[in-house]
């Protein structure tokens, strides 16, 4: 890598990072976007998007990512593919250490590392991941054609993806720990109307069992009664946790779940460090506000940099 010093580095290439990159590149800042995998973040695993304006027919997550990536490429945003292992922040310099040992430095930093699916943390889950345990209906749903599968969760993602999974599975049973869903009304109505979807209320999955692949799961209800259900697949869609392991959270300021707190201009407590997207402490995590926050963060970064000069 030739150049190591930038005015602005954006850490993470989901919708927030890509939008921040779009604004910064159009502003002609010396900017680098660092992404550990491929750009797109969690949008890549979203089957269908009907709530991002400008696409009246809706579109797939990967198509939206492709369009966002093409748009930033048009303005020459530089991206670097690498895994950051350490983030050191001072008012003057923000330093990122990569797995390769290389270092990148910038005067301003926008953190858009996002979030990832939460796990149940129960026996068998780790061992059978990719062998019937899944966190991504779009990626893995078609492997379960004609089979009976389970979905855990009661939020938007769980209910929407359960509906999606009935395209393949003969029956989808939603297991939810409460007796009502948290998902948006329109999604709930669609799920209740879908005759391939059944519900098990007030129950937690306590173990996932099988040798080479899933054979059954054990659930326990609020009366503490346990039972076994045969299933070849289980989709765990119970919200997200922040990708914050490499971040100095105490210095940045975070909520009790590890999401970063910012003001309305996306500033963290550290001068010159902004956060945007799902990594932020907030209640609504949608593509549209992630992108919006990326735009605000880039403009804030631009103001910060111009005041330094």
């Amino acid at each position: 890598m030739a150049k190591t010093d930038y005015q602005l580095i954006i850490l993470g290439g989901g919708p927030a990072g890509l939008t921040a990159g779009l604004y910064a590149a159009r502003d002609q800042l010396e900017v680098l976007l660092v992404e550990k995998g491929v750009v797109g973040g969690q949008v890549l695993v979203t089957d269908w998007i009907d709530n991002y304006p400008g696409f009246p027919e809706g579109l797939t997550g990967s198509d939206l990512v492709e369009k966002m990536a093409a748009q930033v490429a048009r303005f020459g945003l530089k991206t670097y593919n690498g895994n950051v292992v350490k983030v050191e922040l001072s008012a003057a310099t923000k330093k990122l250490t990569l797995e390769s040992g290389e270092e990148l430095r910038s005067r301003a930093l926008i953190i858009c590392t996002g979030a990832r699916p939460n796990k149940l943390g129960i026996p068998g889950e780790e061992k059978l991941t990719g062998k019937g345990v899944s966190y991504c209906a779009t990626c893995d749903g078609p492997f379960f054609r004609g089979q009976e599968i389970l979905v855990v969760g009661g939020g938007d993602t769980a209910v929407q993806e359960a509906d999606f999974l009935t395209k393949f599975a003969s029956k989808v049973t939603i297991i939810h720990r409460r007796d009502t869903l948290r998902a948006t009304k329109v999604l709930q109505e669609k799920a209740f109307a879908n005759e391939r979807i059944e519900f098990i209320w007030n129950s937690n999955v306590v173990a996932i069992e099988g040798e080479k692949e899933i054979e059954r799961v054990r659930i326990r209800n609020i009366e503490n009664e346990e039972k076994e259900i045969a299933a070849s697949g289980i989709f765990i869609l119970i919200g997200t946790i922040p990708n914050s392991e490499i971040l100095p959270l105490e210095q940045l300021g975070a909520d009790e779940h590890g999401f970063i707190k910012t003001d309305e201009e996306m500033r963290t407590r550290v001068p010159g460090v902004m956060a945007a997207g799902d990594i932020r402490s907030k209640t609504v995590r949608q593509i549209i506000n992630g992108a919006g926050e990326g735009a605000v963060a880039a403009i804030t970064a631009q103001h910060y940099l111009s005041e330094l000069d």
Binding site: G37, G82, N83, S100, K131, D140, P142, F143
Partner: protein, 109 residues
């Protein structure tokens, strides 16, 4: 373009082309409906160009070829498996980046 360096494998070709090959092979198990698979497509093509003659970079459509993914218990894609001498050297699932895949290929080059 590097695209022509990516060999599209079928179940019938797998044993001869991968397991019995002198060169190591990376097999990208994918399907057209899989967003993350689509996203790593360009990375696979770039690697195919860079590793031509050193590692066979291949793709297998799991919809058209169910036998091989079944044999390796693949129930999530993209799954990328690196083979050498008929054995699995390494494997990874998800939309991984070029740097990580290059590090994986270092094990056989």
């Amino acid at each position: 373009m590097a695209g022509e360096n990516v060999k599209h494998l079928t179940d019938a070709e797998f044993e001869e082309y991968v397991l019995k090959a002198d060169l190591p092979s990376l097999v990208d198990f994918w399907a057209p409906w899989c967003g993350p698979c689509k996203a790593i497509g360009p990375v696979i093509e770039e690697l195919a160009g860079e590793y031509a003659g050193k590692v066979q970079i291949t793709k297998m459509n799991v919809d058209d070829n169910p036998t091989t993914p079944g044999k390796y218990s693949i129930r999530a894609i993209p799954t990328l498996i690196l083979f050498k001498g008929g054995e699995i050297v390494d494997q990874v699932t998800g939309a991984v980046g070029k740097t990580q895949l290059a590090a994986m290929l270092k094990k056989v080059t």
